[in-house]
Point group: C2
């Protein structure tokens, strides 16, 4: 593959190269890359602003993460927090710290993923900062979006007996990471070995190219349902549930058998001798949405949406956060390792 050194382009050349690929999808974007600040027109309602910092060696390992996938994932991670407020993401900025190990072609790969995600989610890259780094790749993403005032969903706001919902399925991204880590170790021990990834495409995809649930936000909007509270599942279901409970001053009860887990997640868990429910509860990086709805909205969601599971309800006692097992035992959600792996 061709390799062009970054210093041939220079910082301004690099910015121009990125800017030339940026496409505008929102009429609210007045000026994107190329001035001191991006300029947008605010819609009616609230503006949302979120930001994430991703560091090589901490958040991603370039020995098995393709740069294009990383670019896509950075956008997903950035906009997921806007969605978690029931908002529609509109613009992002991406700042990048690059060591001279990266070529122009590598940067192009990264941005091809960023632009693919921008296209998929109807947003645009409006700015950022580029700088050198002595220690690998650093990515900082900020997202802005909008939400109608009466539809905003904070972490706080769930009411007693509200139904707890979660989108998609959980735990797959964590198991995808474990598969990748296993194969990396195999490669380090015996570089001639072929990676054993077959059959794990689903969990690998969930780790390498997660999707943000803009589709769900639009479905809820179409149904005129505003979640009473919401958060995105980035750190694992248990941690996010505790946030919703603490902020809303209530307890939570969820049911093990209602937790959505993909059959490929069970398969990977079995192979890795890990518990699929532990992965769902504590794995993280799912980027699904966890939210609460009023009981009267339940039927509407049942009838008109797919890919939303009802996993429990808000309870009165703020000190309780329980998982009700298939054996009808109540286990504190803080407990780790309660679940035995399939064949251990």
């Amino acid at each position: 593959m061709e390799r062009t050194e970054l210093n041939i382009l220079g910082e301004f050349g690099l910015i121009e190269r990125i800017a030339s690929q940026s496409q505008v999808h929102n009429s609210t974007t007045i000026k994107g890359i190329g001035d001191d600040a991006a300029v947008v027109v605010a819609d009616q309602g609230y503006q949302l602003l979120s930001t994430e910092l991703l560091i090589e060696g901490i958040h991603f390992d370039l020995s098995y993460v393709p740069l294009k996938h990383l670019g896509y994932k950075v956008v997903v991670v950035g906009i997921s927090d806007v969605l978690a407020m029931n908002g529609i993401p509109k613009q992002i900025t991406v700042s990048i710290g690059l060591s001279n190990r990266f070529s122009v072609e590598a940067v192009d790969e990264l941005y091809s993923g960023i632009f693919a995600a921008c296209e998929d989610y109807g947003i645009e890259l409006v700015g950022g900062d580029t700088t050198s780094s002595r220690s690998g790749l650093i990515l900082s993403v900020s997202a802005i979006g909008t939400v109608e005032k009466e539809k905003i969903a904070y972490r706080k706001g769930a009411k007693l007996n509200d139904i707890i919902c979660v989108t998609g399925d959980l735990g797959a991204a964590y198991l995808g990471l474990q598969i990748l880590e296993r194969e990396k170790q195999v490669f380090l021990d015996a570089p001639e070995a072929q990676p054993l990834l077959a059959g794990h495409e689903y969990v690998l995809q969930r780790q390498l190219k997660p999707e943000a649930r803009l589709d769900i936000i639009k479905q809820l909007s179409d149904l005129n349902i505003a979640p009473t509270s919401m958060i995105d599942v980035s750190d694992g279901l248990a941690s996010e549930l505790r946030h919703l409970a603490a902020e809303s001053g209530l307890g939570v009860r969820i049911f093990e058998e209602q937790i959505p887990i993909h059959q490929k997640t069970y398969l990977a868990a079995t192979e890795l001798k890990l518990g699929p429910f532990t992965a769902a509860l504590n794995g993280g990086e799912d980027y699904e949405l966890l939210f609460t709805i009023r009981q009267e909205d339940y039927q509407k969601i049942m009838d008109h949406t797919t890919d939303i599971s009802f996993i429990g309800f808000m309870s009165a006692d703020p000190s309780e956060a329980f998982l009700i097992t298939k054996q009808n035992e109540a286990i504190p959600l803080t407990a780790q390792g309660w679940e035995k792996s399939e064949d251990a």
Copy 2:
């Protein structure tokens, strides 16, 4: 000094500690730190969004930069780009990557500087991300602000014969950095030596605790003057002038004797055997504002403002960017090293 390890607080504890110190100055801030995204109400007009990434070892050297000063400077760097659009900064987010070399007390110092700057500029910290880093301190700052549509100042927009203005004085921050680098080298060679900083307080302050020119933006607003183009001086006057010229499709002519240089900058330059004008033109980190005004606004600025210098004008030929020396020679602004240091 007391040292508390960061892992005693944990990530959520750290976020709570930071959030508890945050004060709200703007009524447009609905929700700051503590949810998935910050929530703000958009004023009428345009919203501005800018972002900067600062990396230890590239942008700052903690062997001589106090953490409190660094915190202050991060905010200044962040909001300077909003000011450069003729906007008023309202909120910032700061994301931070920390290695375990940093204690809770060190993080407190950093944030004390961030909050001091927020207080001085009437803005609030509304969010961010905290993560671990294997390689020193990483800071990412995003700023949002607002500007009336008819008052926005892009880099593009200067007209023929518009007067080029610059605030404050230039070159001092660069010379402050050179003084600090010199004393670091002395210390490395002979740790028992006392640093020779006396007499250089001004240039050191300009490097370590620069100020963003919110005062100038307010003065211009009071006078009902909208600059025809504007940029902040972060990379040095020459580079910024070329941006304004290129974006506006015009040339620039500036006069050496009009470039504002502080007497303490001359002093430091003499001691370091560096050219003060070279520092002003190519040094950077001044965070002053460079802008153009229509000729008819000149007298109003002369009569009613201080700390603005008129350094030249926009010329017709887009291919020219000249500095007119005291000897009336026209020297291309791209030329480096044209200036002999005072005593070299």
